[in-house]
Structure formats: C-alpha cells, structure tokens
Symmetry: C2
Subunit: 198 residues, 2 copies
C-alpha cells in the first residue's frame, strides 16, 4: 500500500537502469535519500545535461557533447587508421587496452537484415565517403566475434576492397592465460587454423 | 584521455549509487544514452523531486513527502501498537512480510555511544512523548539482532517499563527452512534457550 507516492515512483524509475531490479532499486532509493542527497542531486543534474547535450560525433559517430569527439579532434592521432567497432563502449575498451593511436568508427550495431539493420543504419555511407577521399590507409575491423559481427566485418572488408584500402580483422584465438582444457572447440579450431610461425 | 567531458562526469556520478563501480557505471551511462533517454529523464526528474520533497514523518520518522506517512495517516491501522525498527527500509520489509496492522517508529540507526549516537539522535524523546499520552498498548521491538540492535531494544524496553507499556522482542532462532547443519552456534544456542512447548 505505501509503495505509492514519490518514494515508490523513485524506486520504480531506478529500475530503468540496466541490471537494477526492484530490490536493488529500493536499496538505492533509501541510500540516496538517507545518505547522499548531494550526490543524488549531482547525478540527476548530470543525467539531464547528458541526455540533452550528448549526441554523435560527426566523423566517427561515437557519443560526445561536441560536434567532433575528443579522439577525432585530437590532431596527434593518426586519422589514416580507422578501427571499426560496434558500440561507443567498444571505443573505450579498445583505447584503454591497446596502444592504438588511430581513429575509430562506431557502427551502433551490426548487420542484421531480419531486424531491419542494413548498411545505412550502420552509417556505412559516411564511412564510404571517408574512404573515397583516399586519406585512409587501413581499416581495422574490431566487430564482435559473433555471426553478425563476422558478417559485418566481411561486408565492410568488401567496401574497403572497392576503394583499395587495406582491411584487417583483429585476431581470434585462445585468450591470454587461457588453458586449452577450458576453451570451447570453435575457438580452439579457429586458433589452429590461424596459427603463426614462431 | 577521452574519459573527460560530460560522459566521463556521468559515469563518475553514477558511481555514487550503492553497489555501482566504474564498470557498471559505464554500462549504465551507455545504456541510458543509447537506449533509454526518456527513462533517464524521468529518473533524473524523480530524483530531484524526491530529494527536494521527501522528509521524515512527524509521527513515526519514516521517509515521506507528506507531514504524516501513509501508514500513520491510515485510520484503519491500530496506532496503539508500535513496531520499532532501525530504518525506513525495515518498515517496508516488516509490512510486506507480516500481517502487522499497527504503526511504526523509525530510529534511523541504533544506539552507538562511540559514534555519538544516543537516545536523542534516535528520536526517543518523540517516542516517550507518545508513550506518555497513554494511548500506546504495546511496543514491538524489531531492531536488528546485532549487539547494538539488542542494546537498543533493551534500552527502549526500559523506557516502556517506565510508562507501564508492554514491550516485546521479535523471536530469534533457526530461520524457516534452515538446516541445523548450516546454522551458526550462537543462533542455535539462542533457539534452544527460547524453545517453546508444542
């Protein structure tokens, strides 16, 4: 009965966060109201500002509040190397994990004709325009290693060929520290086929 | 480098939520911006409204946006029975789990002299005023079964005695469905001492 009211509404709305169910939302609501009203105010104001101002980079389509993201705007980065990823989160992951100093291009998805996601939805027209300028030397295809991710990588590889731009796919195989015993057979067979001379 | 900006700030502020670290905050930020901007706006607006309007019930000290909470304002509930709990969350837990149709009193903590939490911080003066009116028949002490929770229950029991109000403590023992093998010895010894004839 007393789940109505503003507190009930707060708990219900907290459930829109990914991975947050009613119990967690309840704990969060009580925490914010009892322990950290300042933090809650900052959070709410930042959320409003972010959804208002953050859009897509005009060049690489990642999330940014500026016309061009910080990577595209950074003149010290090599814009002749473009790493293709599925989501803005992947940009962060690749940038944190690797020494890559080129630029990115975010698809915001992967080819999935049944869901109506074709080349246009992935911004591939924008990518083609960039390839057509002749300033791009290499595309690094870092889409996920799923069926759709592989198909998307193949499709973009064909586009690259058309513009005579080199395209490479990130390596797949046994993860570092992985024991063969625990690797699935698909990965292991892939790792065998992709073996390199040492 | 590109962790600065509004997106970085959003991720940082999401970390103020309990149980949310940088990785989860990152996932939440991307989710809100890419999938659910409406939900994010509703959430932010509800948070602002909640921290602005939600205060303590004048009678039982639980969280509410009204002068009196929905339970205290509900004339169908028996206000001669008062269940004492440590936090507003406990009010919900007790109310959802039991058939209790009385009212509550929220301590917002437990006696902890070393942390400077004495009877006044727990609102026990307010509780005493209510006992002094003579309208209260029973206090049900539902503080947690910790050292401080027990001490707080004992302390409030003494106050009840002073006003000749009956006080009871919720039962402690083996949880329903609990197997003896997995119960700690303290609980088991408590359950033995508190055994009842069947």
């Amino acid at each position: 009965m007393h789940k109505k009211g503003l507190l009930g509404q707060l708990i219900q709305n907290l459930c829109c966060l990914p991975g947050v169910g009613p119990k967690t939302a309840q704990r969060m609501a009580f925490y914010l109201l009892q322990r950290d009203r300042n933090g809650a105010r900052n959070l709410a104001e930042t959320v409003l500002q972010a959804i208002d101002k953050i859009g897509h980079c005009e060049q690489c389509r990642t999330l940014t509040e500026y016309p061009f993201c910080e990577i595209c705007a950074d003149s010290s980065r090599d814009d002749s190397l473009i790493c293709i990823v599925e989501s803005p989160a992947d940009v962060w992951i690749v940038d944190q994990a690797t020494q890559f100093k080129g630029c990115y291009f975010v698809l915001h998805g992967r080819l999935s004709p049944l869901d109506g996601i074709g080349p246009d939805e992935l911004g591939l027209d924008l990518l083609e325009q960039r390839l057509a300028t002749g300033s791009v030397k290499e595309l690094i295809l870092a889409t996920n290693s799923t069926v759709e991710g592989e198909a998307t990588a193949y499709f973009i590889g064909e586009i690259a060929k058309k513009y005579q731009v080199q395209a490479s796919r990130i390596a797949h195989g046994v993860p570092m520290g992985g024991e063969l015993e625990f690797i699935d057979s698909g990965t292991l067979s892939h790792a065998f086929k992709g073996r390199k001379e040492i």
